[in-house]
């Protein structure tokens, strides 16, 4: 059973209950879907760009011409694409994954992105997604 204080507090809370207007309710839902769309665009862009970078990374790690030595970012572009793809095909998958896990994926992916044709990847997105991606990119820069 509620004591006097509890009842008074309950009455006070009920009498001052904040009300959500239908306009605000619509805005919440609209804003949420917009946020989701932005998130999906980011994921899609990553899905388009990063696998290419990772494939290149896998191949490069497998082809490391310096044996066990460290790979520098600038050395990544010593090879032509065709050399890399041709030789990467001969490497067992577990070796490729092992090599990949021990490497700084982000920094190598970034170098790859600096050198690659981003337009090709962007062209795979819809017009809206392209616009959002370019806005996001501009903010990053």
């Amino acid at each position: 059973m509620l004591d006097t204080y509890d009842k008074k507090i309950k009455d006070l809370l009920d009498s001052t209950e904040p009300v959500l207007t239908s306009r605000e309710s619509d805005e919440i839902r609209r804003g949420m879907w917009l946020k989701m769309r932005r998130h999906r665009t980011t994921v899609k862009v990553r899905a388009v760009l990063v696998p290419s970078a990772l494939l290149l990374l896998i191949a490069f790690v497998a082809l490391n011409p310096f044996g066990n030595g460290q790979i520098t970012e600038s050395e990544l572009f010593f090879f032509s694409d065709s050399d890399i793809w041709e030789k990467a095909g001969d490497i067992p998958q577990d070796e490729l994954i092992y090599g990949m896990l021990g490497t700084e994926i982000d920094s190598i992916a970034n170098v790859y992105l600096e050198e690659t044709e981003i337009e090709d990847a962007i062209s795979l997105l819809s017009e809206d997604e392209q616009e959002e991606f370019l806005i996001a990119l501009a903010k990053e820069i």
Partner: protein
């Protein structure tokens, strides 16, 4: 014991959740519609600012949608959503409290601006001011127990802390609230 009506409504909700998990946006829209008022009330009481509360509701649904596949229906959807909202609110309230503290230190906060829509009457102002005297966890416990009427165990589940701690937090919160309200609204709160 659960009534037939409650069970039916649970089943309908679960159907909507399953559809939303399969990517049906209308189903998630429906779930948002049904739960947003409740989450807004929680967020507004916690943050006492309309824009912050609206933003919190949106963020709650955004996070919920992204992890909807993990929701298995062990608790009600509302409890799950309010758990997400609670975490966002506590984190935002902590930041806000620091900001309000700085404002008051330099005298900017001594005469807070009141949105005409919010500050409709002295009661609203009193409850808002009284709740500002609470720590983030005291405030959340107070809102969940007194306003949302969750049980001690549900509140403990939402906040991720022990039931004994909830009881202690509620006791402290009520003591502070009572002290403030006795001064702010003596006619209502003096016996």
């Amino acid at each position: 014991m659960e009534t037939m009506k409650e069970q039916r409504s649970k089943n309908v909700e679960w159907e909507l959740v399953k559809k939303a998990q399969d990517g049906n946006r209308n189903a998630f829209d429906q779930l948002m519609l049904e739960n947003q008022k409740s989450i807004f009330r929680l967020a507004f009481r916690m943050l006492d600012n309309r824009d912050d509360a609206l933003d919190t509701v949106q963020e709650t649904f955004y996070r919920a949608y992204r992890s909807l596949k993990k929701f298995r229906g062990e608790s009600s959807l509302r409890l799950w959503l309010e758990t997400i909202a609670t975490r966002i609110c506590i984190s935002r309230y902590r930041k806000k409290k620091i900001f309000v503290g700085v404002e008051e230190l330099f005298g900017f906060g001594s005469h807070p601006k009141w949105d005409a829509e919010i500050d409709a009457n002295a009661h609203r102002k009193a409850i808002t001011e009284a709740m500002r005297t609470l720590s983030p966890k005291e405030r959340m416990t107070f809102v969940l127990r007194m306003e949302k009427e969750y049980s001690t165990s549900e509140t403990a589940e939402i906040m991720g802390i022990a039931e004994g701690t909830i009881k202690a937090l509620l006791h402290r919160a009520n003591k502070k609230m009572k002290k403030f309200l006795l001064r702010a609204l003596p006619d209502e709160f003096e016996n």
